[in-house]
Each structure stands twice: as C-alpha cells, then as structure tokens.
Symmetry: C2
Subunit: 99 residues, 2 copies
C-alpha cells in the first residue's frame, strides 16, 4: 500500500481550520475513489516538549501508487485538493509514502 501524507502548518485561526476540516473537508475526502483508509488529527505535542513543526496531519491510504494517482486525478480528488486552499492558511505539504 501507499499513503498520501498531508502535513499542515499552524493556521491563522485554528478553530476555523478545525471547523472547516470536519464539516467540509472530511466529507470531500470520504468521496475520493479507491480510498482504503483515512486518518486525520491534530498534533498534540512532542515527547520532549519542544514545539511541533506540524499542526495537523492527515493520511489517505490506497492499494497502489496507480490507485492513488487515479484517485487524485478524479473529480472527487480534485475537489478535495482544491478545498485545501480554503482552510490551510499555514500551508500544506503533500508527500507519498510507502505503507
């Protein structure tokens, strides 16, 4: 399997970020075809108490790189991707990882 990892930087308004994420973004992600597992949540801290470089982390699992690519190219994938600009005021870093 592979996963799309989305690492969000600290937004200008954390409460607005979380509200938009839950109410608008999650429903869009859940429509993405081929999606096998979805997990998203806040970074709670670091083991040594130092500041975390990430605010929120999301991961989308797919069976293969081909299925991930097809998912991102689909209308549903494009809609979810386009929505990121609506709330990720602290930036979003996307990576594809072995899973």
């Amino acid at each position: 399997m592979v996963k799309l990892v989305v690492s969000y930087g600290a937004p200008e308004d954390p409460a607005a970020f979380e509200q938009h994420y839950s109410n608008t973004h999650v429903p869009l992600v859940e429509k993405i075809p081929n999606l096998r597992r979805f997990e998203a949540g806040k970074i709670l801290g670091t083991p040594d108490g130092s500041p975390a470089p990430v605010f929120f982390l999301a991961e989308l699992w797919f069976d293969s790189p081909q299925e991930l690519e097809a998912a991102m190219g689909s209308a549903e994938g494009q809609a979810a991707g386009a929505d990121v600009a609506n709330f990720a005021t602290g930036g979003a870093t996307l990576m594809i990882a072995e899973a």
Copy 2:
C-alpha cells in the same frame, strides 16, 4: 487512539539507513509494549514532483496518550529510542498525533 510519528530527514547513507532500520530497529520497535499498530516506509515523492522534506516516516499507534507514555518509558521503548541515534544521520522529528 494516538500515534507517535517519527519523521526522518535524508541520511548520509540511505542504504545503510534502510538496512539498519529493517534488521535492527524494526525488531526493537516490535517489542514495545502497548503497541497497537506500526507502519514505516520511505517517502516516494510528492504529487507535484517537488523535493520531499522527509526521507522516511514511521508511525506507532497506541490506545491512549497514557499507554504511549508508558510505552516510551518502558525498557523496550527506551531501547528503541536510543537506537535512533545509531542510524538517523539526517535527524528525526518525533510528534504525538491524534489518530
């Protein structure tokens, strides 16, 4: 649930990193008490082809922050943590995330 996210920067010798990770580090991680799920793998790239800021990502899931804390404080958790210095020549960032 919560997860410990370990984000490794690019090491000096990627082949040596992967060999140590598979042969030495994974067996240490698998001994950690309370561990519910473990996933680790290379970053394969980014959707837009830009350089990925991370080389390798590992995640360890636990049922609660308390179980994660107990796991990290155990002899097995300390042994796995201490081993990171043996191969993470590009650094390692640890974060605790909602899961």
